[in-house]
């Protein structure tokens, strides 16, 4: 089970259990992510307005996931850097690299701002922020079991579903292990902020090596557990205890996301219609 009370174990750490998104079935949550991701792929570098719409929807979804504010700060820090970098690569260029059809809005030596550059950078930034918030929405609203059941609903082979569930599970455990190993090293008096590059590298291996060994040990246990239970990996059709079905609420929730996908396809292939 996902866990009782007000918290449950998500893909990374513990998350609120009684949120709005938790009432949706697993395939619905996966579909929301996939529909918006597909929509953003269709309109990227084609229609900025629809991309902005997807970004706004992604932010709303993210707010429903009720993740810690730290995640928002991380997103803006990481993607702010990338946005700045993209802007630099499109504007700090030799004059001979300016596309012939671009209109120069501002120039100073090799710093040349064109309309083409601004639009491209806006597309890149919107795409990255939308997808980052969507990914965080998925993290904040799903558990490993949701992933397995969601993939099973779409008739993905059971083994593949189990594989994805175990990957997320192990990755989540690795983050916990990382904290455990790091705290163990700190309790031995190791200061990660001080020392030369070589010393920092040694400290890094002091965390990395136990982490990998722990992962391998867990994997070896899992092999034994699967084998001892006679779990067949190949060529076996399995039934499931939990049958996942879509309910009226799921269809109602999915409708606007299908609409966004359709608008995106129209924007790409029939731009005159939008």
């Amino acid at each position: 089970m996902s866990g009782g009370g007000n918290v449950r174990r998500g893909l990374v750490g513990y998350l609120p259990a009684n949120g709005t998104l938790q009432q949706l079935s697993p395939p619905t949550k996966l579909l929301i992510f996939l529909l918006l991701a597909a929509a953003s792929s269709f309109v990227y570098l084609v229609n900025l307005y629809v991309l902005v719409l997807i970004f706004v929807v992604a932010v709303i979804l993210f707010s429903f996931a009720r993740l810690p504010r730290l995640w928002v700060r991380l997103v803006f820090l990481a993607f702010g850097f990338e946005a700045l970098g993209t802007f630099v690569t499109y504007t700090v260029i030799p004059p001979s690299s300016v596309p012939s059809d671009a209109e120069i809005l501002f120039s100073f030596s090799w710093f040349i701002v064109t309309d083409h550059a601004l639009i491209t950078v806006a597309h890149v930034v919107m795409l990255f922020f939308s997808m980052a918030f969507l990914a965080l929405f998925l993290i904040g609203s799903t558990t490993e079991r949701d992933i397995v059941e969601g993939l099973n609903f779409f008739h993905i082979p059971r083994t593949v579903g189990l594989m994805f569930g175990m990957i997320f599970r192990l990755a989540g455990i690795l983050f916990t292990d990382y904290d455990t190993v790091r705290e163990a090293q700190l309790s031995r008096g190791i200061d990660y902020r001080q020392g030369s590059f070589v010393e920092k590298l040694r400290k890094f291996f002091g965390v990395m090596v136990p982490l990998i060994v722990l992962a391998f040990r867990r994997a070896a246990f899992s092999i034994n557990a699967l084998d001892s239970r006679g779990y067949a990996i190949r060529n076996v059709k399995k039934t499931t205890f939990h049958q996942v079905r879509l309910h009226t609420l799921d269809y109602l929730v999915l409708t606007p996301f299908f609409a966004i996908l359709i608008v995106s396809i129209l924007a790409r292939y029939f731009p005159w219609s939008i």
Binding site: V88, T89, M208
Partner: protein
């Protein structure tokens, strides 16, 4: 009979090889993503993932490459890529892992790097050659398919990609390979068949 003893056929051991390599590649990709700086965008200053590609290629062969493809693909989703873009980009991670594995299979070098031949192969093949091939693909994809980077930045991006990866492979990858290979070979996870 246990499914773990069937060599290259897909059993629980191969299943777990994919799971472990994908989980660690996912963590490596996320750590790498957090070390991106605006100096050259999309290039991590310490992309630990490539060190994992090396060890999983050598230890798990084909199954490690599949795991790396899945793990890096999921990781790129968290880093702002659409599923389509993520799975186009991580072809480079799959190819690099396969090249690490294939090189190890062809030369049959010792993972614990005992002889001069082992070191020479490791430094030349696992360093600039594999990462150079991967760098060409990644640069072309970033500039001409995704258009995340202006075309004027082909060489800085390519050289930054290769240099960053070579440093990680030759420092982190070497140490992981040298000191963990003996342990891994004793576990049921070590690949038999499909490149080793």
């Amino acid at each position: 009979m246990s499914q773990t003893t069937k060599g290259a056929m897909f059993g629980t051991a191969q299943f777990m090889m994919i799971v472990v390599s994908a989980a660690l590649a996912l963590v490596g990709t996320l750590i790498g993503g957090l070390s991106i700086t605006p100096i050259i965008p999309y290039l991590a200053t310490l992309y630990v993932g490539v060190a994992f590609q090396l060890i999983f290629g050598d230890w798990f062969g084909f199954w490690g490459a599949i795991g790396v493809y899945i793990g890096c693909g999921i990781g790129e989703l968290y880093l702002g890529f659409t599923p389509l873009f993520a799975f186009i980009l991580v072809v480079v991670d799959f190819v690099q892992t396969m090249l690490f594995a294939f090189g190890g299979k062809t030369i049959k070098y010792n993972y614990t790097l005992k002889t001069a031949k082992d070191w020479i192969f490791h430094i030349i093949w696992n360093g600039p050659i594999v990462n150079g091939i991967g760098g060409i693909y990644a640069t072309l994809v970033f500039i001409y398919v995704f258009k995340f980077i202006g075309p004027a930045y082909f060489w800085p991006f390519f050289l930054g990609w290769v240099a960053g990866n070579v440093v990680v492979v030759l420092i982190i990858g070497t140490i992981l390979l040298k000191f963990l290979s003996t342990y891994v070979m004793k576990t049921p996870l070590y690949a038999r068949g499909y490149f080793r």
